[in-house]
């Protein structure tokens, strides 16, 4: 299987704090790959590096064989990486469908004047239909015209996923998508994530604390602690790895 995301010796520190420490990691195309680790272990920092919000101090990230680290976020988005945020960053005053439309415009590269002239044309009609389809995909079709800030927490998380899918990514990075969801919502989310990979063919990297969800969903798990990778493998191996248990529970003096 081909590697879609290749992280090589990545490091990033903030002042004296080392957030990512010589991290190397490969994500295979077509997998659901989970990244777990205690709070502050550098998971979100890794996402921020992969999407261009931060530039690494050293090391590099290759997406489909092409170096992306150091590029600005909108260029990386155009190359095919979508993401959601741990602390929900929706466009709150805009309706659900408009949020997805903003994502969808990533698919076209019109100049400003062209884009304005196409208002109300077949192209924007097509985008509206596409946005509606993505909302249906995450089962939010009924909330299409609601301002996104009025949606429930779980719905907002699903809307973020639909918006990220709008950019037509080949790789999607989900940052704690189950946080704040009730058990029913989590079950629906698990199904939705699986459908993203199976039906849309998008590779998924997921940061998640809900271990049941990770064990159910992921084919491969990387464990971070203090910005380093301490373990990696299929979930059933990770579950019993003493290093992982140590990272989460601390080491006992014997």
């Amino acid at each position: 299987m081909a590697v879609i995301l290749d992280v090589r010796n990545l490091s990033k520190s903030f002042g004296g704090l080392v957030a990512i420490d010589d991290l190397s990691l490969e994500v295979e195309r077509g997998t659901i790959h989970a990244i777990i680790g205690p709070n502050g272990s550098g998971k979100t920092t890794f996402f921020n590096l992969a999407t261009g919000l931060y530039t690494p101090d050293s090391g590099e990230i290759l997406f489909e064989g092409e170096r992306i680290s150091g590029l600005p976020p909108h260029v990386i988005a155009h190359k095919g990486i979508g993401r959601t945020f741990q602390n929900l960053l929706l466009f709150g005053d805009m309706t659900a469908v408009d949020n997805v439309m903003v994502g969808l415009q990533c698919r076209n590269r019109y100049s400003l004047v062209e884009a304005i002239l196409r208002t109300g044309s077949a192209v924007t009609d097509q985008m509206y239909k596409e946005a509606t389809k993505l909302l249906d995909f995450v089962r939010l079709g009924g909330s299409r015209d609601q301002p996104s800030k009025y949606l429930s927490y779980g719905e907002q998380r699903l809307l973020e996923i639909a918006r990220a899918l709008g950019t037509n990514p080949r790789l999607i990075l989900l940052d704690e998508p189950a946080a704040g969801m009730n058990p029913q919502e989590t079950i629906l989310l698990t199904k939705t994530i699986r459908r993203i990979r199976d039906e849309l063919g998008v590779t998924v990297v997921i940061i998640e604390h809900d271990m049941r969800l990770v064990m159910n969903l992921a084919e491969r798990v990387s464990v971070l602690d203090y910005g380093r990778k301490v373990s990696e493998g299929p979930p059933e191996v990770i579950k019993n790895d003493p290093k992982v248990i140590e990272a989460y529970l601390g080491v006992t003096e014997e």
Partner: protein
Amino acid sequence: MQFSVSDLVQIILSGVAMGSIYALMALGFTIIYNALRLINFAQGDMFMLGATFGLTLFVMWRLPFSVAFLLAGLGVAVVGMIIERTVFRPLRRYPVLNLIIATIGISITLRALALIIWGSQALLFPPVFGDKPITVGKLVLMPHYLWIIGIAVVVIALLQAFFTLTLPGKAMRATAQNRDAAALMGINVFRMDSLASAISAGLGGFGGVLIAPVFFVTTEMGALAGLKGFAAAVLGGFGTIPGAIVGGLVLGVSESLAASVVSAYRDAVAFVILIAVLLWRPGGIMGRKTR
């Protein structure tokens, strides 16, 4: 003092006309604030540039007023874009206060340049909207006020359509609400800054060229216009588009009513109203009730 109905209509009409100009100025402040989080002290000078550009195009180059109007507004928009590229963008990595101070520098520079080009004399802009009052029944109306209101309504409607209907408009709103998320949706946020700066300057420019046929054109005319536009934006609720429009109209009408009673205090009255409203509602008329 007794007012006839006709007097009152005229006072309100002139208030609404001035209010539309303030609304254009206030929208200029709002749009650049939403994009770059800065108060642009050079906004008043965009107004001045609109008037002086209009004067050059219409009086010296003898272009039709409609063409001069459009070119003046677009010309000021280009100035706004150049300012964003050369000043705001390089300063973006510093605290926003540096940008705000830079806008004061831009303002001084533009006024000095304008003084060199157009001189210190007040220049007369011919009354293109006609100077003969129109009589409708008992009402006597000045045509330029109707033109100003009409054109301002069209400009604001186009702006509203841009923000709600077009994709670049949605992208700009998205960027204003969350810059990082917008960038990750593939939006070139720097291009949005440039566009916001251009639109904001262009609105000031349209305001200036609209008012030019009513007042004299001077290189210092931007100072008070900028202050009134800022006051209107704060009065309506800073950072919101409906707030800028309402704030502009409320300021224009109340100023006009006040001036008809005590004309010497016209400008003072505007700011007294501003302070009174802000004591009552710190967030402005359309703003949030609590801070």
